[in-house]
């Protein structure tokens, strides 16, 4: 089965076309174009102030675009107020009505539809079951724990069976352990209800775990839209590469490329390295190469069979239990990071500080990008 975004015949649920949003003199969104398909779990990822929440509020109808168009299900949403959109939102603060019970909160939106009383009651029960809060229907929001509140907010937003659910940092207020557990719950509920989810988050792990696709945003622009694997393994820019996980960055000048692979002259080491070009690169152009630390192999002897290798001295070792991170000082003074699994207990003299070592990585681990 091909994914909808790879299928040229698929119709997107949301079409965001060159959307710009300014607040006074501040540009929050700058010509954003994006398609989101039915059934997706789509993440908007970026640092705070990158415009991701503005984009979400624009979809919800809480902000009006300064320029461009938003289509949801084929309809231009300009001037359509939030109460007339088949879209619901889960707010970052949850925004639970403090004067209503859990059941009252879930029923709130249903009461504004044409449903009968018994139909509303049935739907409320169904939602309570979905989020496993059957016993707490009569409680008020202030009598709930953070995790329970989060689930009420989710149930309330899903009660009207919206085509599209917007989630603004849905796990931001939970502690780390609960957050991980809830991620899977959210994915289950998304699959069960077959609703399109658009989630805003600044946590890359959260986006990587849950999303079918991720849009990485910065300064009101979209840097890259891709699946989590491709975002991580084939970043299209240095900004995306360094936002998603730690990375080593090598500077150089491209001296050969056939589109599938390329070599460049690593300026500080004056030697040729190979990698896969992320963008079209011309020979003689300045470039940067990103290498993930876990792809870098550390050895005592020179691995002559590896095309990309460099020598250095171990400066410090961070032992993290399952993995260790090695900081290796190269002869030009820069520090290179390598990370490896701790499969066997380390012998104290195996890889000590001040040992001279070789670092190497395969061609497929190096991605060559425009600076």
């Amino acid at each position: 089965m091909t994914s909808p975004w790879e299928d040229s015949n698929a119709t997107p649920l949301i079409r965001i076309d060159k959307v710009t949003k300014r607040f006074g003199g501040v540009t929050a969104l700058d010509g954003v174009t994006l398609d989101i398909y039915p059934g997706e779990f789509f993440a908007l990822l970026g640092p705070s102030g990158c415009g991701k929440t503005t984009l979400l509020r624009l979809l919800g109808g809480f902000e009006e675009a300064t320029g461009g168009h938003v289509h949801i299900d084929g309809r231009d949403m300009a001037g359509v107020p939030p109460n007339e959109r088949a879209v619901n939102m889960m707010f970052q603060s949850y925004a639970l009505f403090p004067h209503l019970t859990v059941a009252g909160n879930i029923a709130f939106g249903l009461k504004r539809s044409a449903l009968t009383k018994s139909a509303i009651a049935a739907r409320v029960d169904e939602m309570l079951r979905l989020v496993q809060l059957e016993d707490l229907a009569k409680r008020k929001p202030h009598q709930l724990s953070g995790g329970q509140r989060q689930r009420v907010a989710l149930a309330r937003a899903l009660a009207k069976a919206p085509k599209l659910l917007l989630l603004d940092e849905p796990l931001g207020a939970l502690d780390k352990k609960l957050r991980q557990q809830t991620q899977f719950e959210l994915m289950n509920i998304q699959a069960k209800t077959n609703t399109t989810f658009v989630i805003v988050t600044h946590d890359k792990d959260e986006a990587m775990t849950m999303a079918s696709r991720i849009a990485v945003m910065d300064n009101g622009r979209i840097l890259q839209v891709d699946t989590p694997e491709r975002i991580y393994q084939s970043p299209k820019s240095i900004a995306v590469a360094s936002f998603i996980g730690d990375t080593n960055i090598l500077e150089g000048i491209c001296n050969w490329s056939d589109g599938e692979s390329a070599t460049f002259d690593w300026t500080s080491q004056s030697r040729d390295m190979t990698g896969i070009p992320g963008n079209a690169l011309a020979v003689g152009e300045r470039c940067r190469c990103v290498v993930r630390p876990e792809q870098v192999v550390i050895t005592f002897d020179e691995p002559t069979d590896m095309p990309n290798r460099v020598q250095g001295i171990v400066e410090d070792i961070a032992y993290l239990g399952n993995v260790s991170t090695y900081h290796v000082r190269l002869n030009d003074g820069s520090v290179f990071t390598s990370q490896s699994m701790n499969r066997q207990p380390l012998s104290p003299d195996a890889l000590g500080v001040n040992r001279s070592v070789w670092l190497s990585w395969p061609e497929s681990a190096a991605r060559i990008l425009r600076p």
Binding site: P82, N83, M89, S93, F97, G109
Partner: protein, 295 residues
Amino acid sequence: MRRLLIAIPYLWLLALFLVPFGIVLKIALSDAALAIPPYTPTLALDEGWQSVREFLSQLDLENFVFLGEDALYWKAYWSSIQIAFVSTVLTLLVGYPMAYAMARAPRRWQPALIMLVILPFWTSFLIRVYAWIGILSNEGYLNQALLAIGLIDQPLALLNTNVAVHIGIVYTYLPFLVLPIYATLERLDESLLDAARDLGCSRTRAFWSVTLPLSRPGIIAGCLLVFIPVIGEFVIPSVLGGSDTLMIGKVLWNEFFANRDWPVASAVAVVLLFILIIPIMLFQHSAMDKREVTA
């Protein structure tokens, strides 16, 4: 140190707030006499237990019976409650939109707006009531203006009527109502309104189903802050009201200063206090609630 901190204000309030009420109660249960002090004390504690027993046996409700028999008092209590109720509703109708608009105004204006509401509250109450005489009298500014634009051809009799009393109450008590309501509206999390809109409410509907219920603590506190003192109000009915404006504060004042019947005046005060106990307890409850919420 801590004991002293509690004891000093505690004893002060006991001596100058609670004990005086005991005395009022005691005098309300005594006979009227003409001499000054114009009551015969029925309880003389220095004569010991014997006198307490005597006191209890001849416990005298005659002043209360007198209040019950004379229609004037009942009418005055009832009319005070009516006037207080109507003017509280009127104050709410003027004050709620103001508080709402203040809470919705741009943040940087809000301190100035609060200041504008508080400022009249600091200027003399008596003077603010007095200001309305010039406006409402037959030759007053309001009648002058209405005659000038030809809306009326006879001056309206406003001063010395209940209409003037209502206007005076709304005017002087408005800040008491605006501030608590503003405080609850200002704290209202705006994402709740977004959520209501998201779940299908129009702006008006969102106001009725979210904003209004959530500002209820402020409305209750504000209304009680108007209703309770207005029942016992003396200055406004005596300055702006007419001879037919019947309010219990005025009756008590006359009973005390004109008729010099202290036992009856005390009985009037005791009954007034009983009428007010429930609203006062409601007010304290709401004040405590608010403190818990802010804590």
